[in-house]
């Protein structure tokens, strides 16, 4: 059965490629007049700007950039979906925007400081208005890809478990991780009685973070997107943890928050000092989760890219120096990537462990 499933995944990938290739891999040269413009600023463009180079990598974008050689850009176009109050719903391929160099249907990528890199609608009077932006951006697309990977890996593994044979293949690689989450995180932290209820969530969050961390280390598509180094993504993950904690919070959990026992009454009335602190604590816990994952992964990417930038920074001074520095930076980047590999596991573990601890605290019967 899972062979059929694998086949269908393969067909899906091939179809996806067919959809993408005609539209995109938009090998394009800029218009003539644009080229003239660029000639003027050629001197400035020659200079390598590590800041924007790194920033472009770690932030979200409307297309999946693969490589640029001089003015020749290769990227996977992604669908832009925007809703404007003026002109309604629009959807088009991001390749229509020509990497932010032209406008389409009145939309373009803003160059102003406030909305830089975001899609804006240009009004008749020339002002820019931000529409509601539901584009399948690079990060969204990467989330979809990781979703595909997760389904592929774990549903095929689940089929193997149903066969009741001795574990084999990739199943053997995943089983220790699943058992680790069950026996070393859920059971001791939440307790033997209640842990089973939280297992699906803990497993999902662990493997989602892990696979996105690992894909983020792969420099070419389907990897390379900075998904877990994006505040929106980690924020949503933390939000889910907060939701699960709040929904499953026991009577004692809420009592601790609104009317903590053992605290002098003047801490609660007339100024509800303790409840305010406790409610703040309720939100700081997931907030810390969000920031920790984001900062760790984003920082890893930034440092790795920073080492790469060294080649070009030195190359800008003397080209030969760039070549001379490259082995050193390469060694550093390899070293960083190995550390990032460790961080990928550690952060997935920490997020899962802390989520489990919060669940354990919320469901504890008494103190």
């Amino acid at each position: 059965m899972h062979k059929n499933f694998r086949k269908s995944v393969l067909i899906f990938i091939i179809l996806l490629a067919f959809v993408l290739i005609p539209n995109g891999f938009a090998f394009e040269n800029r218009d003539e007049d644009e080229k003239e413009n660029s000639v003027k600023t050629e001197h400035e463009k020659e200079k390598f700007a590590p800041g924007s180079f790194i920033f472009d990598h770690v932030s979200d974008s409307y297309e999946w950039h693969i490589l640029s050689v001089k003015d020749f850009h290769v990227s996977i176009p992604l669908p832009v979906i925007v809703y404007s109050k003026e002109s309604g719903l629009h959807s088009f391929w991001s390749s229509k925007l020509h990497h932010g160099h032209s406008e389409y249907k009145g939309f373009c990528i803003s160059q102003t400081e406030a909305d830089e890199g975001k899609i804006v609608e240009i009004m008749e009077d020339g002002t820019e208005v931000k529409p509601l932006d539901f584009s399948i951006s690079k990060n969204v697309f990467a989330v979809f890809i990781s979703m595909g990977f997760l389904f592929w890996i774990f549903i095929s593994i689940a089929q193997k478990y149903k066969n009741k044979k001795a574990p084999s293949g990739f199943q053997n690689a995943m089983e220790p991780l699943i058992l680790f989450i069950r026996d070393d995180i859920a059971k001791p932290v939440i307790g033997e009685v209640k842990y089973e209820k939280y297992m699906p969530f803990l497993l999902t969050i662990f493997f989602f973070i892990l696979i996105n961390n690992l894909l983020g280390l792969v420099p070419i598509p389907p990897g390379g997107a900075n998904v877990t180094g994006n505040l929106a993504v980690t924020g949503v993950l933390a939000l889910f943890t907060l939701l699960v904690t709040s929904i499953n919070g026991s009577k004692y959990y809420w009592q601790e928050i609104f009317n903590a026992p053992g605290v002098p009454f003047w801490m609660k009335i007339p100024i509800p000092l303790m409840p305010v602190i406790e409610i703040l604590g309720m939100f700081t816990k997931p907030f810390v989760l969000m920031v920790r994952l984001f900062a760790n992964i984003a920082a890893g990417h930034i440092i790795a890219m920073g080492f790469f930038s060294l080649i070009f920074i030195f190359g800008d001074i003397i080209p030969l120096l760039g070549y001379a520095v490259s082995p050193v930076t390469l060694a550093f980047t390899v070293f960083m990537t190995i550390i990032e590999l460790l961080v990928a596991f550690v952060q997935a573990y920490v997020f899962t462990l802390l989520s489990a601890i919060y669940f354990g605290m919320a469901t504890a019967e008494h103190h």
């Binding site: 920033f55 770690v58 932030s59 979200d60 979906i81 830089e116 890199g117 975001k118 509601l132 932006d133 539901f134 584009s135 399948i136 951006s137 990060n139 969204v140 989330v143 979809f144 979703m147 997760l150 389904f151 774990f154 549903i155 593994i157 689940a158 478990y161 149903k162 009741k164 089983e175 699943i178 058992l179 069950r182 089973e196 297992m199 699906p200 969530f201 497993l203 999902t204 989602f208 994006n230 505040l231 929106a232 993504v233 924020g235 949503v236 993950l237 939000l239 889910f240 984003a298």
Partner: protein, 164 residues
């Protein structure tokens, strides 16, 4: 700073995707996997337990066997002992019987000997009496012959008696 301002669209798609992932994986992956893992653990657990039980039973059987063997040995020993006692008793009884029989025989024999002896003595006495009478007869026959002859005759007769 785009890096720290979460995009609304991304949040929307992320909530949607993560909910879908959570739902699908929970239904089609985690539940069967966790169930299978638990079942497998239970199977191993019961197998181990039954192995333990079997081992315990084996031990019990062994102890039982040993106990039976020891018991059998004891029984054998006691039987042997009894047999030996019986044998000894028999022998001693036999000996006693033999002794008493022998004593009886001896006593009988003694008595018989005594009787015989008495009978013999009686006979001797009778014979002596007879001889005496004969001697007396012969003496009387030769009564008036020489005294010396008489004396010799008497001596001779006495010798004769002595021989007897």
């Amino acid at each position: 700073m785009e890096l720290i301002t979460p995009g609304l669209g991304l949040v929307f798609w992320m909530v949607l995707s993560f909910s879908v992932i959570l739902f699908i994986l929970k239904k089609f992956a985690w539940k069967p996997i966790l169930k299978a893992l638990k079942e497998r653990e239970n199977t191993i657990d019961t197998a181990l337990k039954s192995a333990d039980k079997a081992r315990e039973e084996m031990g019990q059987l062994k102890a039982e066997n040993e106990r039976i063997i020891i018991e059998a040995k004891n029984v054998r020993d006691s039987l042997l002992k009894e047999a030996r006692q019986v044998k000894d008793k028999l022998i001693s009884e036999a000996k006693q019987k033999a002794n008493s029989e022998a004593n009886k025989i001896i006593a009988d024999a003694k008595r018989k000997i005594e009787n015989e002896k008495e009978a013999a003595l009686d006979e001797i006495k009778n014979q002596v009496a007879g001889f005496s009478v004969e001697i007396a007869e012969k003496i009387l026959k030769k009564k008036l012959e020489k005294t010396k002859d008489q004396q010799d005759l008497i001596n001779e007769l006495i010798d004769e008696i002595k021989i007897n």
